[in-house]
Assembly symmetry: C2
Homo-oligomer: 214 residues x 2
Amino acid sequence: MSSLPKLQIALDNQTLSDAIKSINAVGEEIDVVEAGTILCLQEGMEVVRCLRALYPEKIILADTKCADAGGTVAKNCADAGADWMTVICSATIPTMKAALAEVDDLQVELYGDWTFDHARQWKEAGLSQVVYHQSRDALNSGKSWGDEDLDKLKKLSEMGFKVSVTGGLNPDTVKLFKGIDIYCFIAGRGIRDAEDPIAAAREFKAEIAKYWGK
Amino acid sequence: MSSLPKLQIALDNQTLSDAIKSINAVGEEIDVVEAGTILCLQEGMEVVRCLRALYPEKIILADTKCADAGGTVAKNCADAGADWMTVICSATIPTMKAALAEVDDLQVELYGDWTFDHARQWKEAGLSQVVYHQSRDALNSGKSWGDEDLDKLKKLSEMGFKVSVTGGLNPDTVKLFKGIDIYCFIAGRGIRDAEDPIAAAREFKAEIAKYWGK
C-alpha cells in the first residue's frame, strides 16, 4: 500500500471492445479503472461487469455523474461490480446519501458553479472524495489549469476531502500540482491515445513518485 | 398540431425488456418517449435504438443528464435515433452548445442551486427547454410542489423558456400548474405503475385539456 497519488484511467471509449483494447494495453500499471460516462451510456452496465471480470482486484469506478435516483443507480453499479461511482455536484444531498449507502465510495464531480458551502454540506453528508475538472469542452475552448484552480484544490484538501484531478492531464502536467495532496490523477486520452500507453502510464507514475514520494 | 402541454413518459425501468413492456402498454397516448437515465446507464444506447424502432414518428428523448463531452454524447444519442437529449444545469456553456449542435433540441435539467443568471446564459447560448424537477430523492424525503416552485416556473416561462415539469406527478397534480405555460408534463411511475396505464395517460391528457384547452 502506498500513500502516493493513485493513477486512474478514464475509459471514455465509444464501445466495449475498444475500451477492453485500451485497458488491456495498460491495465497492470493502473490503480483505478474508470468506465467513462460516454462508455456507460453507450454500452450500459455490461461495461462494468466486463472490467470487473478482467480486474477482480482493482478499484473499478462507474462514472455515471449521477444526478438523481442515487440509490437505484448506485445499487446497479455495485451489482455490476463497481467499487466507486461518481455523482454530479448539483445532485441533492438526499441523492448523494442514497448513493453512498450502496457503493464503497463516491466521487463528487465538480462542474459549474459549485461553492465551498456546498462542499461543507457534502462533508457533513459523509462524502469524502471530490474530482476537480477541467471540462473537456472548456479545454476545447482554450481553458487550462491555473492558480485559481490550484487554490481551490488546496482549500478542498484542507477541508479534509480526498481530491482528484482530471482534464487534459499528461505526464508533463503532473508537476503543476506539486505540494497538493492529490488522491487520484485521472487521465484518459493522455494514456489511451499515447503512442505507447504503458510507457505513458509509467511516466505518470514516475512523475508522481518524483513529487510525492519520500 | 396542438399547443396543449405534451405528455412525456419517463421510462426509468431497469431493463430494456421491461421498458418495452411499459411503453407498449401506453405508447399511443404519449407525445414524448423518454429513455430514462437509469435505463440508459443499464442498457446503453440500444434502448434508444429500440424505442426509435417502435415509434418512428414520436419524439424520442435520451435522458443522459449530460455534464461533459456534450458533442460526443449528443452525437451518440442522435445516431441511436434520439430527437432530444438532456443536459444537467451544472454543465458548462461550451458543453451545452456542443450538444445542441448534434441533436434537434436539448432539455436543461434543473437540479441543485441553479440561478436565473445561469438561465440567462443558457438562453443566450440558444437553449430553449428547461425541466423543473422535484428530485426523486427529495420527494422520498418529504418535499413536494409549492408556491416557490410555481413562481420559478412562471419566471422561466416569462424568460421565454419552454418549461417542463417532473417529479411525483399524477393526474391529480396537473391542476397545480394551471395558468403556467407548461411544455411537457413528464410522468414516470404515475403512468407506468398505474393499475391501468392507458387510463392513467388518458386522465393526464383530460386534465391537460381541461386546464389548457380553449
